[in-house]
Symmetry: C2
Subunit: 710 residues, 2 copies
């Protein structure tokens, strides 16, 4: 892989589902998996999918034992109307690639141009017949637009047929054997209206449960050397619209079908009149070439700010830039969505937003595209009503409890011990708010949005925790490490809660001096008074942080070090990841961590601990962490670098940066691990770059692995 092109020349059916993810095209709004337009050969299982960020339907969550407050409504990103389809017939025979009939195969994701491509030669009995050249992009300038250019060039004289399809009969992927993806088939879009008008196919649909509407339009253009193409025939058949062109080419002649599709949905354009949904209303649909040229300009501007060069380690730089590009193409711009755990590359985790966004992806955005970072925070602000509702469900009188997983803002986690119990998400969002302010000095954002988030998240801690023996304790929560649930005084949570409380106190004081009117208005709305902020301050000041003086360690939680160690030596290699092979209760009674927890707290905040404690804890947690979560390596990499262990840091960094490219977790077919990608960036910039955001001024103290020059 060169610096900014991911490429493969090998057609290997086994890799196709993985490649669908790695080569997918997205723009933060639309994500289209890299399926073959013409489909796969029989027996090959792919996950054919197109997604619109935050476009979901609801479903009933049925609990076999339903207790109070367990969510009853789930949300799931939908596989939407398929505009990828282009069927080809050569001499009456349908084209699908098989090892026997393909040569000169290659596919690429040109991250410098924001465009994916695929080319191959179709052969018959070893004889090359026709050459294919296919390009696609999801436009960054026009977030509604997904464009395809499908070219064929004849090598031998050939008659063939191109059929462009808009398929509304789509459903989501499921696999009953894997708890990480949906367990059952899920009906999605109901088609409402279909139309064929010349070269335009349009289809309107709505989601079965919640009635979100979707308007999809595909415009077509045929470009030939000769003009010898027939006008298309069209047909319409229960959810499938098609245009069909017949052509006969002589050797050297080529024909290109351009298919420019737009997606508009009622979550973003709720007030629009039904008849005004044509994105191109009144203007000519631009040629693919124009869209591609716009795209390059936009993408180059991005790379100017974001590209990472590593002198002496081209491979690492290329991998890192791949990760950065994935984050880039997963990030929305409209305040109506967050970044799903899998970006828009697949259905894993149902298109939900987690704490990963603010902790792992946000730093990259903040320091490369602060306007995108702001958009993410505005989205979180817009979901405060759902977070307040969740706080009431969890028995809190005041404040907001951001949900563990959600699209709309409603808690969708069906298993609270490693879901809603992760109260730290409140502090994680507050952390992003305060980091954003520090980095951008965007006072208006804080005044109008940030303060409300900080206050509403901070006040939860006072109801959740309590003073006991002079210290503030937080009981019965789960930290980032999901192998130890529902614990008391989780170090990470308590540290982050302290930061949340301190930030709220600081911003309250700042508002008081700079925006007293706005503060009064907000305080009235929130029924907040100064006395409450004094409680915040005293909880922050007296926050209990577990520390074992004998061992000179920060225990992950108050009881962690009393538990026995996990016996890795008698754990069969096949039993990883542990959560797929051991009961949650089994894992909980050992010192074994899925991911960085205390280590992550050290990374994010200026730790009040002695250096020797941090160093000792780091090595301690290295010994008990499985890194079964993709979020883990990055935190270890950063802390290793900070502790002056660059080679160890490089080891962790390498695992981070290649996690999806090498499919080391074995589930990249379900989508990228977007947070890990942000983590890779953090490992490079926070770790080796020595960037440390905590404190009054960010600092840089680079620590490079021996291989790296600069």
């Amino acid at each position: 892989m060169s610096h900014k092109v991911l490429k493969t020349h090998q057609y290997n059916p086994v890799n196709l589902a993985l490649e669908e993810t790695l080569f997918h095209t997205a723009n933060g709004r639309i994500g289209v998996r890299a399926n073959f337009e013409e489909g796969y050969d029989e027996g090959i299982v792919g996950i054919r999918g197109s997604y619109l960020n935050a476009f979901f339907d609801t479903h009933r969550i049925v609990h076999p034992e339903k207790l109070f407050g367990f969510p009853e409504i789930g949300e799931k990103i939908l596989n939407v109307t398929d505009v990828q389809c282009i069927d080809v017939q050569i001499e009456g025979r349908k084209v699908t690639i098989t090892p026997e009939n393909v040569s000169e195969y290659s596919r690429a994701m040109d991250m410098g141009r924001g465009e994916a491509s695929r080319s191959f030669t179709w052969t018959d009995g070893g004889k090359p017949l026709i050459k294919f050249d296919i390009r696609r992009l999801a436009s960054f300038l026009r977030r509604e637009v997904f464009a395809l250019s499908y070219s064929v060039t004849a090598i031998e004289p050939v008659r063939f047929q191109l059929q462009s399809i808009v398929n509304g009969e789509v459903s989501n992927f499921f696999d009953p054997s894997d708890p990480r993806v949906a367990g059952e088939a899920y009906r999605t879009l109901i088609i409402d209206k279909s139309e064929i008008d010349g070269n335009r196919l349009t289809m309107e649909s709505y989601t079965q449960q919640i009635g979100h509407r979707l308007f999809v339009q595909s415009d077509h253009r045929i470009i030939t050397d000769t003009g010898r193409v027939e006008k298309p025939k069209s047909h319409m058949d229960s959810g499938v619209l098609a245009l069909v062109w017949e052509a006969a080419l002589t050797p050297g002649e080529s024909i290109t079908l351009e298919k420019i599709s737009t997606f508009r949905d009622s979550r973003r354009f709720p007030d629009e009149d039904e008849r005004c949904r044509d994105y191109w209303n009144g203007i000519d649909v631009p040629p693919y070439k124009v869209l591609a040229e716009e795209q390059v300009v936009y993408v180059e501007e991005f790379w100017e700010k974001a590209a990472v060069d590593i002198d002496g380690d081209d491979a690492a730089a290329a991998n890192l830039n791949f990760n950065i590009y994935q984050l880039f193409q997963s990030t929305p711009s409209d305040n109506r969505a967050g970044i799903p755990a899998k970006g828009l590359s697949g259905e894993g985790y149902e298109g939900h937003y987690f704490w990963d966004t603010e902790i792992y992806m946000f730093p990259f955005l903040l320091y490369t595209r602060p306007e995108a970072a702001r958009s993410i925070l505005l989205f979180r602000h817009s979901t405060l009503p759902g977070a307040r509702e969740q706080a009431r469900i969890l028995g809190h009188q005041r404040g907001a409890a951001y949900p563990w997983r959600t699209i709309s803002g409603r808690e969708c986690s069906a298993y609270y011990p490693s879901g809603s119990a992760q109260y730290h998400i409140n502090a994680d969002i507050a952390y992003a708010v305060i980091r954003y302010w520090e980095a951008t000095e965007d006072d208006v954002f804080i005044r109008d949005f940030g303060a409300e988030i900080l206050f509403e998240t901070a006040r939860i801690w006072l109801e959740l925790g309590n003073f006991s023996d002079g210290r503030f304790h937080i009981h019965g929560v789960t930290g980032p490490d999901e192998y130890t649930c529902l614990v008391n005084d989780n170090y990470f949570t308590n540290q982050m809660a302290r930061k949340n409380l301190q930030s709220a106190v600081d911003v309250y004081a700042w508002m008081d001096s700079h925006f007293p009117v706005e503060l009064t208005r907000l305080s009235d709305t929130l029924k907040l008074d100064r006395a409450e902020t004094q409680d915040w301050e005293s909880a922050a000041d007296r926050m209990y942080l577990p520390y074992d003086a004998v061992r000179n360690l920060n225990p992950q939680d108050e009881s962690f070090l009393r538990k026995p160690m996990w016996d890795f030596s008698s754990t069969p290699p096949d039993n990883h990841p542990l959560l797929l092979h051991y009961h949650h209760m089994t894992l909980s009674r050992f010192q074994v961590c899925k991911q960085a927890d205390t280590v992550l707290a050290y990374v994010l905040l200026n730790p009040p601990e002695k250096d020797s404690t941090i160093r000792k804890s780091f090595h301690y947690y290295e010994g008990v962490t499985t890194h079964d979560s993709s979020l883990s390596y990055a935190a270890f990499a950063i802390l290793a670098a900070r502790l002056g262990e660059p080679e160890k840091a490089y080891e962790y960094f390498s695992r981070t940066v290649s996690l999806d490219l090498n499919d080391t977790h074995g589930n990249t077919k379900d989508g990228i691990h977007a947070a890990n990608m942000g983590g890779a960036w953090m490992a490079a910039v926070w770790g080796f770059g020595g960037f440390f955001p905590d404190g009054s001024l960010p600092t840089f103290r680079p620590v490079l692995p021996s291989k790296w020059k600069r």
Copy 2:
């Protein structure tokens, strides 16, 4: 209510579902709810049901988020073939009781005779037409038999029709709004074969999923003064068999239909040839009168051993005897079943067995009918394979982990924090074993069954807990109090585990001296050696028992006293029971208990604590316990009596003993609270009677409330 007859003279449609439970007839094998034979008036909702202990079908448990080890197969006791049905028509009009057409109504459960009865006069426009007299029993001598006697006596000349029905089209009750009963309709029995042969109706069915078979036979006899009854007509219609008699009576004449039904099932008679299922094979079906007479003898014998008299408090004695009778009629005798949480009176808790059996019901059996106590333990022994499987699922290499709720022995709990996490059930069963041995000196039972239970339950603790700082700690378990889940060092669990371990050590030593050959054989089977028993001993000796020296209290668990108190003053009365109105996480972060936990540990074991600690703890837990569980009052009553507070004990006892009779939990319609009934007996005998089973010799130190003379 007299001492041994429960009676009502009021026909109140609102009470019928409750009365179905209170007046049900059972014999530990068969349980038949007290539905009206002829059905209810339109609009009255009852729960029509007949159950066979341990006769169940399986169903898939679908978890919205399925983690490793979550049970996927549930079990549910079935509502079996209905033999209660007798339809009556008077002058062509179907008889159902309404307030307008009934007079002289009464129903009774004669617990001295083991027989339920119902009588009323049917009127037309205020004019009495015909008198009904109905009796029913589930035979204790013949556990397969349920018998009905249905008599009518004419007051005016009348033509009428009696129709006896065997209805195989039955399904279980469901109510989607109540988490304590099943949430959805559940298909049960599939009818295989039906036959009408003279006065005999037979029906064979099998359970849809697991294929357990059921053979039901109803034999009929008509007894008249005059002989003027027609031969029956019969008809058979999709799952319904019927015999119909027509009769014309003159005033004073009567006619009685006896319907003697038998239930045989493949769980108990698996090898029987299909053609040999007639229970009466070769002998005459006895008249109802004979069955009733046998019944009286059996029941009188029971009362001789079990009846409680309370001089000075007839009402309490009557209530207590009602509870005792319910336990009596819920207890099986065939080693093939336990006592379901609701006895055989309803479908609540799906007919499952819990720890309640051994802790709350077993003492009554042990000291009144030790052979029944033995049978219960033999049943638990027979389910060791399921408990071993559950131990493997929970990550234990050795030993058995008895399931939280089960019929067959397989864990059926779909919510582990207040289910499988209650490891104390292992110790509870071990506790019953050792108490049985102490009370009966049944060495053979211990040698052949008890030792294996003790060893297999004990060894779990060594894998579950661990030594830390010189003490043995048990992490991440739930005690009896379900409002505080997954805690460390639960006082009850640790105390009971200690007893479990000590008992296992003692029995190992005893076997070694008395039955060395059997010990060797058992040790070989279990791969158990002496070294392991030394670990048991040292874990027992060094078991950590939480104690707060400053407050002089035993905390329920290690973190309990650090949490804030629940604010009862601002809890609306409608918000009880709390579990229906607060999230489990909310409850968990407060000092609030659903039920006796530490208090129960004091009750069961000779506590090593100072008297002042026990007294102080008792009062402390009084303040934080809601008694939302029916298991709570009894433990508080016993400890109050022991602490010399008889009036307080009486208060708790009163709530225990009348819980079902007064329907104080509002769900007695779903079945009796069998464990609470055992608790009522314990409150009287262990509490006021001052019986204390722990130690080398049981002791009696009676403490009577002022009202009680003797």
